[in-house]
Amino acid sequence: MNPTALPDPPQTAESESGSSLGRDAWLRLKRNRLAYACLWSLGGILVLCAGGALLSLAGVLPDPNATHLDHILEAPGVRYLLGSDALGRDVFTRILFGGLVSIAVGVVATLVSVLIGVTYGAVAGYVGGRCDAVMMRFVDILYAMPFVILVVVLMALFGMNLFWLFIAIGAVEWLTMARIVRAQVMALKRQEFMEAARSLGLGHAAILFRHLIPNCFGPIIVYTTLTVPSVMRLEAVLSFLGMGVQPPNSSWGCLIKEGADRMTTSAGLLVFPAAAFAITLFCLNFLGDGLRDALDPKGSRD
């Protein structure tokens, strides 16, 4: 989401073109005008949500959770910039706060899934053999289970709070990442620099975390960017099931669900949060595609 989030050039002798790879990718991304615009839009959305939340906490904008039962379902206007909801709460600040929650769920749950997926995949790929086979069968098992039952059971077990929402979503989203990283590590393992590293007497952990994983950064970043929107979607589906963020807090998923129920009577309750959600997902997806193009070594031959 931020250019500095691109990988630092790996500091190892093996990744010979490391620094130029990152810079090249960045330049290629900049050339992709749409992806670049999406990057800026995402930054803008984040600043807007965070800034609005701060202003609201400071009392400049209304409290998103304060109900005004004598001012319910009002049209957009001076008192309520984007109207009020069924409990007389300010839709505009609810969208800003909800955006923070949705983005946080997207980013944190993705990080959880990346952490699990990368470690799991790298270990499986590096160790190989029977251990790899067993680990990958476990991934197959999880792959072949409907995600809802995992989430339903996890949420029932640990209660529905934001923390467990992150964990539950992260716990179902790491599978593809594990497969991608494993395949990369297996390919890298056969390359010459591995021999060099081993002959230098480096330990397994050092090889794995200092050399193999950094060399997988490209695919990891691309897949991470694409995981964020799918996690945000998942959060919305959970809101539909009533298992999302707990009230009075809200997320875009919750707001959209509330709005979808009232779309025939107060369209604004659906249109505004849905637009915010759609624009964010749109940008994330395009940014992900742009990053893939930029980081794809084959693409560099263009």
């Binding site: 050339r31 992709n32 005008r33 749409l34 990958m136 069968r137 476990f138 991934v139 197959d140 098992i141 999880l142 792959y143 072949a144 289970m145 409907p146 809802v148 039952i149 995992l150 339903v152 059971v153 029932a156 077990l157 497969r179 395949a183 929107p229 979607r233 919305a236 589906v237 539909f240 099931l241 998923g253 959209i256 669900k257 709005g259 979808a260 779309m263 025939t264 659906l270 849905a274 959600f277 759609a278 624009i279 997902l281 749109f282 997806n285 395009f286 595609d289 893939r292 193009d293 794809d296 084959k298 693409g299 031959r301 263009d302």
Partner: protein, 314 residues
């Protein structure tokens, strides 16, 4: 014969995975709090004890697990539902699966029919206007939650235009059109993006450059030479995705009031209807395994280079 070995290997693996699914689901359900016999009114404790005895829930977990294993792998019997008295799991699944298969199948066709052309178009016009238009169109289904698209579609096509029923399933040929289109819209986006990426990759291969250099027209290259290679990632994506789309979507089935599998899965998980949930999970698992297997076979057939390689690329 590598193919025969590959098939046998896969079968064995699938069996292991199915046992794993059963075991994991069983463990999760043992851990989950909640009472399958909870109803509107409170039930006295000794009566709950009776129910638990009736369904064998008072047996040691290991014995329950073992019995379930036997029922599934020897008798193909999911037992009796906890919450739908008088129905067996097999009955419920056999009745609801065809609905999900029909809606999902039509949705998949719609998604492929729109997604692949959009993806190819986007790849052919990479980073130009055509790409942006095609990619944006494809993203509609991803960027808007299904529970927004579905009521909108119903409001317009069913309530305003009156072309379709707003809800329900009467086994007539039109009932599946609206839900399957809504369902397909979501997959369309993924299919278009994966096709685009696959095509870009294929277009950058040396042989395509050679062909281009030889002066073949761009269009023919796209169609003939690269499509088969460019669709490989799509085929591997379809492995798990096909099972997902065919096994039914809770959101779509709730909103359209369809008697499908997706609804059963979520409702069973919510009500702690262990036999029914186990039946749905096992059906889903079997479908994932089958469609993964078909996808692997298709890739094997599509990509000659893979035929010599080991079947170890899960």
């Amino acid at each position: 014969m590598p193919l025969v070995r590959f098939v046998l290997d896969r079968l064995l693996q699938s069996l292991v995975v199915l046992v794993g699914i059963l075991t994991l689901t069983f463990i999760l359900l043992q851990l989950a709090p909640g009472n399958p016999f909870a109803t509107e009114k409170n039930i006295p404790e000794h009566i709950v004890a009776n129910m638990r005895e009736y369904y064998g829930l008072n047996r040691p977990p290991l014995e329950q697990w073992f019995r379930m294993l036997g029922n599934y792998f020897l008798r193909f019997d999911g037992g009796e539902s906890f919450t739908k008295d008088g129905f067996t799991v097999n009955e419920i699944i056999l009745e609801s699966l065809p609905v999900s298969l029909l809606v999902g199948g039509a949705g998949l066709l719609f998604a492929l029919g729109t997604g692949v052309p959009l993806g190819v178009m986007a790849a052919a016009r990479r980073n130009r206007g055509g790409d942006y238009v095609a990619s944006s169109l494809a993203l509609i289904g991803i960027c808007l939650p299904t529970f927004v698209v579905a009521p909108l579609a119903i409001a317009f096509f069913a309530l305003d235009l009156g072309w379709f029923a707003p809800a329900g399933w009467e086994d007539r040929r039109v009932d599946w059109i609206l839900p399957s289109t809504v369902l397909g819209l979501f997959y369309m986006g993924y299919i278009a993006r994966i096709t685009r990426a696959g095509m870009l990759e294929a277009l950058s291969q040396d042989y395509v450059r050679t062909a281009l250099a030889k002066g073949l027209s761009e269009r023919r290259i796209l169609m003939v030479h690269t499509l088969r290679h460019g669709l490989l990632p799509l085929v591997s994506f379809l492995g798990p995705a096909v099972a997902g789309i065919l096994a039914g979507s809770f959101v779509v089935e709730t909103i359209f009031g369809l008697p499908g599998m997706g609804l059963h899965t979520v409702v069973a998980a919510r009500d702690r209807d262990m036999p029914l949930l186990m039946g749905s999970v096992m059906t889903y698992g079997a479908m994932v395994l089958v469609s993964n297997f078909l996808s692997d076979l298709a890739q094997y057939w599509m990509n000659p280079r893979m035929r010599g390689a080991e079947a170890d690329w899960s």
